[in-house]
């Protein structure tokens, strides 16, 4: 037989073990709360990161697109949903002539129906390395030389190593680099220079018609950077006034970002409220359960006193039980949240449909620590009231009541 000393810990653990149903439901409640706290924290942090990444990577102030394709551009940027739309490449120069515009750079979007790696549509983005101010600055930190013809950069979601060959539309491309995760549409995109993109468009004709194949002078969008001191709204209006009739429309970057932060705020409020409700619920329910079981266990507690336990020892026992429940619940809740949030991050991103970028390990650990602390404290907090009551009740009466 095990000769374990009956310390407060052992006694509390034993009491919990022998009341499995009650203990497990309390642990479950505590786990639910810490799950919500940690899962929610990671979700919010990832979305915040996504927005930050979006505003950092979206170097343009205004994007000119063909009329009617504003939404397509946004979904291409945010989610990498492949889209194909074109207008004349002359727009680039037209827009450059507008007052307040400092730099312009054209881009071509080609949606693949199927890529060689997988039967999943991918957005091919052709850009002009000469004028580009969006993609290169962000790439240069990771990639040395500008793209040569036939070379591509792949987004982080595409599983290809530098030097590997990838096939789209029957053309073989050399992967020059795989980009860091951005949490937005760029992750599922493939970047190449304009010439390579046109070549790809011509080849894609075999599978689907593509206007670029016929007309070398087509582009999909123009990225516009403003000169200092000009108001985005004003310049956007000037562009519209001048070229709306030619089918040019504009997307203002700030509005895209504020739209996204708007949805993010909505989601954050929802998560915070849910966490708060669960937190209060968990303290209240634990408190009520402890208090009710206190009445149920009056005789048991009296017996400890009769056998010579001090009030402090008894209060310690009750606190220890709550600490053990809280500990088990908080840890398993956080572990469960980690098993959902991390492996399924891409799935979550596809559900929330917003830029989603997981925070660094440090932030994750901090979030886990804080969530654990808050969730862990609910148990002892809920038990405190009962523990204090224990110091007051009359032992003698308690024994008699149960006779």
């Amino acid at each position: 037989m095990k000769q374990l000393s009956l310390t407060t810990y052992v006694i509390a653990l034993n009491n919990l073990r022998r009341k499995k149903g009650r203990s497990l439901s309390l642990i479950l409640l505590s786990a639910l709360f810490s799950f919500m706290l940690f899962g929610g924290a990671i979700l919010i942090k990832s979305l915040e990161n996504g927005v930050t990444s979006l505003s950092n990577r979206l170097g343009a102030d205004i994007m000119a697109v063909p009329y009617g394709y504003e939404a397509d551009l946004q979904s291409a940027l945010l989610r990498g949903e492949p889209s194909t739309f074109y207008f004349d490449s002359g727009v680039t120069d037209d827009v450059a002539g507008i007052e307040g515009v400092q730099r312009t750079s054209p881009q071509i979007y080609i949606a693949t129906l199927r890529a060689g790696c997988c039967s999943y549509p991918i957005q091919l983005i052709g850009y002009d390395p000469e004028t580009d101010f969006i993609i290169q600055p962000w790439l240069s930190s990771q990639v040395g030389d500008p793209l040569a013809e036939g070379d591509i950069y792949v987004g982080s979601s595409i599983n290809a190593e530098p030097g590997q060959m990838l096939k789209f539309f029957g053309i073989t491309f050399r992967v020059a680099a795989r980009l860091d995760k951005t949490g937005m549409g760029f992750d599922t995109s493939v970047f190449m220079n304009l010439d390579t993109a046109r070549k790809a468009a011509r080849e894609s004709e075999r599978l689907q018609e593509n206007p670029v194949a016929q007309d070398e002078n087509l582009i999909s969008s123009v990225m516009i950077k403003l000169a200092n001191g000009y108001d985005v709204k004003e310049v956007a209006n000037r562009i519209l006034q001048a070229y709306a009739l030619e089918g040019v429309h504009v997307v203002v970057a700030k509005n895209v970002i504020s739209d996204v932060s708007g949805s993010l705020n909505g989601l954050t409020v929802y998560i915070v409220i849910l966490a708060a409700v669960l937190g209060v619920l968990s303290v209240v329910v634990l408190g009520v359960v402890f208090s009710v079981t206190f009445s149920e266990r009056r005789k048991e507690f009296s017996l400890y006193r009769v056998l010579g336990a001090t009030k402090g020892k008894l209060a310690g026992l009750v606190m220890m039980e709550s600490v053990l429940i809280s500990l088990a619940g908080s840890l398993s809740g956080i572990a469960a949240a980690a098993l959902v949030v991390f492996p399924f991050s891409t799935y979550i991103q596809s559900i929330v449909n917003l830029p989603y970028l997981q925070p660094s390990v440090g932030v994750i650990l901090a979030a886990a620590g804080i969530s654990f602390l808050i969730s862990f404290l609910t148990g002892p907090l809920a038990a405190l009231c009962t523990a204090l009551k224990l110091g007051k009740f009359e032992i003698y009466t308690a024994i008699r009541e149960n006779e």
């Binding site: 990498g80 199927r114 890529a115 790696c117 997988c118 039967s119 999943y120 991918i122 982080s156 979601s157 595409i158 599983n159 290809a160 029957g170 992750d187 599922t188 098993l339 959902v340 492996p343 399924f344 891409t346 799935y347 596809s350």
Partner: protein
């Protein structure tokens, strides 16, 4: 129900879940890959899913064996073999067969993560089951956990 029977049951249910993930709960991408010559073949993730059905079946059987096994040594052996099966269950989608190259494909967003989580938990469970199987040679198992 005895503790050791419960353990066998849990492992069996786990095996069943491993079978259900690629077939019912989170099926992998259903698209067929079109070849240059016009023919079609299922993608890699489809074959990974198929392999997982077999692996799940092995785990299910391990659970049933655990349900009936009485001696500590046998239970330890079953725990080890189930653990190794689960490792293969991770290796198949991770690199033995693999899946789609694109992270946003169904297999990479749901099917594989679900399998990884299931197998990781099962491996943990097998370790616990191994060490709580009792003393080898005692013939009986002590109640634990």
């Amino acid at each position: 129900m005895k503790n050791r029977n419960l353990k066998g049951l849990i492992v069996s249910v786990w095996g069943l879940l491993v079978i259900l993930v690629p077939t019912v709960i989170f099926p992998p991408c259903s698209h067929m890959l079109e070849l240059v010559d016009g023919g079609t073949v299922p993608m890699k993730c489809f074959w990974s899913g198929r392999a997982e059905i077999g692996i799940g079946f092995l785990i299910l059987c391990g659970g049933l064996l655990l349900f009936f096994a009485k001696s500590a040594e046998t239970r330890k052996f079953i725990s080890v073999s189930t653990l190794l099966t689960s490792l293969v269950g991770i290796a198949v989608p991770a690199f033995l067969i693999g899946g789609c190259a694109m992270e946003t494909m169904t297999c990479r967003t749901t099917t594989f993560p679900a399998l990884y989580v299931l197998h990781a938990l099962l491996i943990l469970f097998c370790v616990v089951s191994f060490f709580s199987a009792g003393e080898v040679g005692s013939g009986t198992t002590k109640a634990s956990l």
